[in-house]
């Protein structure tokens, strides 16, 4: 048995798992209408490939992956496309996004299932399958799995499967592992085929003994090791789980692949199996419905089902429900609209009441008690980050490694002054991203201006050259033999200047392109828009240009 390591800090809030983990996953009935967002993953949103009035089959691709970091979306049931427009989506920003609405015909007619023999097919074919079947990380960050399982030239020594599920209240991975362990293991086998790791470690928090046992049974004779890790939030954070299982730290600004590790959620492994071995795209997911509801339980729900209907599955909200939280209480966000559809990232719906989630007291000044620093899993100094964020001293905040913050919420959880620390960090991060954007835009404007100047000068020079040429020609016809040496020299100098400008331009373009390592834009907590670069620069950079410092890692949200 491997020894486990520790991560710094962490907290242990009341678990509230027992409410919903006792009953098996129940299938949800077919809703009348499904609203499928085109952006259910980090990266470029899918491109709609159906139009209003089209008849679609269950599992049919309705949005195609668009660009390298992207994934397809599919019709969760058969029916007719009734709208392709903006609709409320599950996102902290509460901004509407492009969605495809399907009126279900109730027939549930499937596309033809086409399993893929992944051992026979090339690895690229398997990755293309994952991308076209909409497989994304279900731990919360919804990073396209096809991209994650493509480590480029990096050697992967360890594949980590994240079944920690450290957030309180959520039990969807727990139930999935208990009930479908064998299928998860099939998915892991496909993953190992793609990245060829030396070892596979499956991390599950030790408050889920049934899941640990089920996974151990399923992993018999596979060589995969199931490790029960201590129950300590955010032990399911990608970086923390990797540290606990391997003792290694993901370098700041890097990815686990930099230390030879890949980390994927156990739920993702399940969908990998379904997509490859059964030809089923990701059109449903297991979601925990808990909190102030009549019968808390896990349900397998079609993507696009309105959350209001998802709540009804658990018998509806009890009286006293004040609002709803999507995700866990530590990193989830408030739901503003019950018509918001379920998306791939949503693993839990919590009906909140003042009794379960007491209103937060007003904040008082920071007294530098340091409890936040004691619990920070990244060993940051949250009080300093707070100080510099609130005073808009963003350079200093960066200096104190603001961008290493994973927004797990431990600092806010323990703060005796009740300061909403994480909100301050989000504010600072988005301000810095905005500044970066402005800076970039200014640089582009400068480049454009300089090029314009150069062009004007060149045109002027060319004009002058033409004029001189004409004059020389006129002179020649006038009788004087031999070329004017001054004009020839001038022409040569102009030619050289033009060449230099061209070379400079080409060099800039080459620099901006050629980057294999793609740093995804934002974790689930940060609006992807806020970090994406402004309209394409004239140098022709890729459609998803890594914002080196401003971007977050493809962290599986804990």
């Amino acid at each position: 048995m491997k020894t486990l390591h520790k991560f710094h800090g962490g907290v242990h809030p009341p678990e509230h798992k027992a409410e919903s983990n006792g009953l098996p996953i129940a299938a949800a009935p077919l809703p009348r209408r499904l609203v499928v967002p085109l952006r259910q993953h980090i990266g470029a949103p899918a491109r709609a490939v159906v139009k209003v009035g089209d008849r679609v089959l269950k599992g049919q691709m309705i949005g195609a992956a668009d660009g390298f970091i992207s994934a397809a979306v599919h019709a969760p049931t058969s029916g007719i496309v009734s709208a392709v427009d903006l609709h409320a989506v599950p996102h902290p920003s509460a901004l509407p996004d492009l969605c495809i609405t399907i009126e279900a015909d109730g027939e549930e007619r499937w596309i033809e299932h086409q399993p893929l023999d992944y051992l026979a097919a090339g690895r690229d074919a398997v990755r293309a399958r994952l991308r076209d079947f909409g497989v994304v990380g279900l731990g919360g960050a919804v990073f396209p799995t096809s991209v994650k399982l493509d480590p480029c030239a990096l050697k992967i020594g360890t594949l980590v499967l994240n079944g920690a599920e450290c957030e309180p209240w959520i039990t969807s991975d727990d139930r999935l592992m208990r009930e479908r362990a064998a299928e998860i293991v099939e998915g892991i086998k496909i993953m190992t085929h793609l990245v060829q790791p030396e070892q596979v470690l499956i991390g599950i928090e030790n408050n889920k003994p049934e899941a640990v046992a089920a996974m151990r049974t399923a992993c018999r004779d596979t060589g995969f090791q199931v490790m029960a890790v201590p129950t300590q939030y955010p032990g399911g954070g990608e970086k923390q789980l990797i540290q606990v299982l391997t003792g290694k730290e993901v370098p700041s600004g890097g990815r686990p692949a930099n230390i030879g590790v890949l980390c994927a959620n156990t739920g993702t492994a399940y969908t990998v199996h379904r997509a490859v071995n059964h030809g089923e795209p990701v059109i449903s997911r297991v979601v925990t419905v808990t909190g102030n509801v009549e019968k808390p339980q896990n349900f397998e729900v079609l993507i696009g089902t309105p959350i209001g209907e998802v709540v009804q599955l658990a018998g509806g909200a009890k009286t006293g429900t004040s609002h709803y939280i999507l995700g866990g209480p530590m990193m989830g966000f408030d739901l503003n609209n019950l018509a918001t559809p379920l998306a791939k990232a949503v693993n839990c719906v919590i009906a909140a009441s003042p009794a379960l989630f007491p209103p937060k007291p007003a904040a008082v000044p920071c007294i530098r008690c340091g409890q936040c620093a004691q619990v920070c899993p990244c060993s940051l100094q949250p009080m300093e980050l707070f100080w510099f964020s609130q005073s808009r001293n963003f350079d200093k905040a960066r200096g104190y490694n603001l961008f290493d913050c994973i927004e797990c919420g431990c600092c806010s959880y323990v703060c005796p002054s009740h300061i909403p620390l994480v909100s301050y960090y989000r504010f600072a991060k988005s301000e810095i991203a905005a500044q970066e954007r402005e800076k970039r835009a200014a640089e582009q404007a400068k480049a454009r201006f300089e090029f314009k100047q150069l062009r004007e000068e060149r045109e002027k020079a060319e004009k002058a050259a033409r004029f001189a040429e004409k004059a020389a020609a006129a002179k020649a016809t006038a009788g004087a033999e031999g070329e004017d040496p001054a004009a020839a020299a001038k022409k040569a100098a102009i030619q050289a200047a033009v060449e230099r400008a061209k070379a400079k331009k080409a060099e800039a373009a080459a620099q901006a392109a050629g980057q294999c390592d793609v740093t995804p834009m934002a974790a689930v907590e940060t609006p992807a828009e806020s970090l994406s670069p402004c309209p394409l620069p004239p140098t022709g950079e890729g459609d998803l240009e890594p914002l080196r410092d401003g971007s977050l890692n493809p962290t599986e949200s804990p």
């Binding site: 993901v250 890097g254 995700g327 806010s412 703060c415 909100s423 907590e525």
Partner: protein
């Protein structure tokens, strides 16, 4: 509302402050037992002054007075100052000290969470420099006093400046530390001095028990995770180390580490003053440096300096270095300097 949606149940600034106040109670009880009820008058005067000054400044600064007044921070400053200066002094002494602590040291520096210097120690320093004569007369342990000072007598001392039927000198005296220093300067040896009735088993009579209570209170705070071990341990280790060194050089002139530990403000300082959140470093290594610095300076001032004890000045000196200490002791952040490159 943004994440996280839950907070640690019951955690608040006032709860922390009240816990620290509670941790002082055993020491206060021992104080009353050994030196009479005068300290209670000091504590009351300091508390009233602190709350009044706090309320006044909060009002001037347009802060919600009710919301902040009872967070316990002003009260804690008041108690720490009251326990640091001699009881049986004129009423205005503690009032002036407390008012300075709250108005100048705390609020003029920005109020709760922003002050550079420990308010209680700043108040102490002002009194020590401005009214030194009042700061050296400490009550005689009841067992040694010819005249027992009851609550009524004590009130007389505070408000009319004298004690009917007895001279104030009869009920006050220098502290053990002060006595030791004076006697040693008169060329008495350590053994001779230590035989004086004012000294107890390992510290001063009475004061050693009060100090033990501070130690117990400090352990309680450690257990409650209000403070971390870094500051008190490094403080006490530094104090023990430096006193052991001098004691080993010349035991007849330099007292034992145990004596230094249990006299003056050493244990109060280690657990209650040097651990003040606002004015001490936050980083673990910073706390170690800070605690050790206070411990060494405390010894140097009380043994070689002009003051009977050095806790206030050593804390204030180290307070000034806190931003620097914090800046240079930042812990390694996850994923930094691991050798791996992104």
């Amino acid at each position: 509302m943004s994440s996280p949606h839950v907070l640690t149940p019951g955690s608040s600034v006032s709860r922390i402050m009240l816990t620290v106040l509670a941790a002082l109670l055993p020491a206060i009880a021992a104080y009353v037992y050994f030196f009479g009820p005068a300290i209670l008058i000091s504590l009351t005067l300091a508390s009233i002054t602190a709350l009044a000054a706090e309320a006044a400044v909060l009002r001037l600064r347009d802060f919600p007075v009710k919301y902040f007044l009872f967070d316990g921070s002003a009260l804690l400053t008041a108690w720490l100052l009251a326990l640091s200066i001699p009881p049986l002094a004129p009423w205005w002494l503690i009032v002036v000290g407390t008012a300075f602590a709250i108005v100048v040291a705390k609020h003029l520096y920005g109020g709760l969470g922003n002050n550079l210097f420990n308010p209680a120690m700043a108040g102490f320093a002002v009194l020590m420099i401005s009214f030194p004569s009042f700061m050296t007369h400490w009550p005689t342990p009841l067992t040694l006093a010819q005249h027992t000072v009851g609550l009524g007598d004590a009130l007389q001392v505070y408000f009319s400046g004298g004690l009917p039927g007895a001279r104030l000198d009869a009920v006050t005296m220098a502290t053990p530390l002060d006595t030791l220093k004076t006697q040693l300067s008169l060329q008495h040896t350590m053994d001779e001095v230590k035989r004086m009735p004012i000294f107890g088993t390992f510290g001063g009579k009475g004061t050693e028990t009060v100090a033990t209570m501070y130690l117990l209170g400090g352990l309680f705070l450690l257990r409650k995770r209000i403070i971390t071990w870094h500051t008190p341990v490094s403080f006490l280790v530094a104090l023990i180390a430096i006193s052991a060194f001098f004691n080993s050089v010349d035991a007849s002139r330099y007292a034992t580490p145990l004596f230094h530990l249990f006299t003056g403000g050493a244990l109060l300082g280690a657990f209650f003053i040097a651990t003040d959140y606002v004015t001490a470093p936050v980083t673990p290594r910073g706390k170690l440096i800070f605690g050790a610095g206070v411990g060494v300076l405390e010894y140097l001032i009380r043994v070689f300096g002009g003051y009977p004890d050095g806790i206030a000045f050593s804390v204030l000196i180290m307070n000034a270095a806190v931003p620097l200490i914090d800046a240079y002791t930042q812990p390694r952040v996850y994923g930094h300097n691991t050798g791996a490159t992104p």
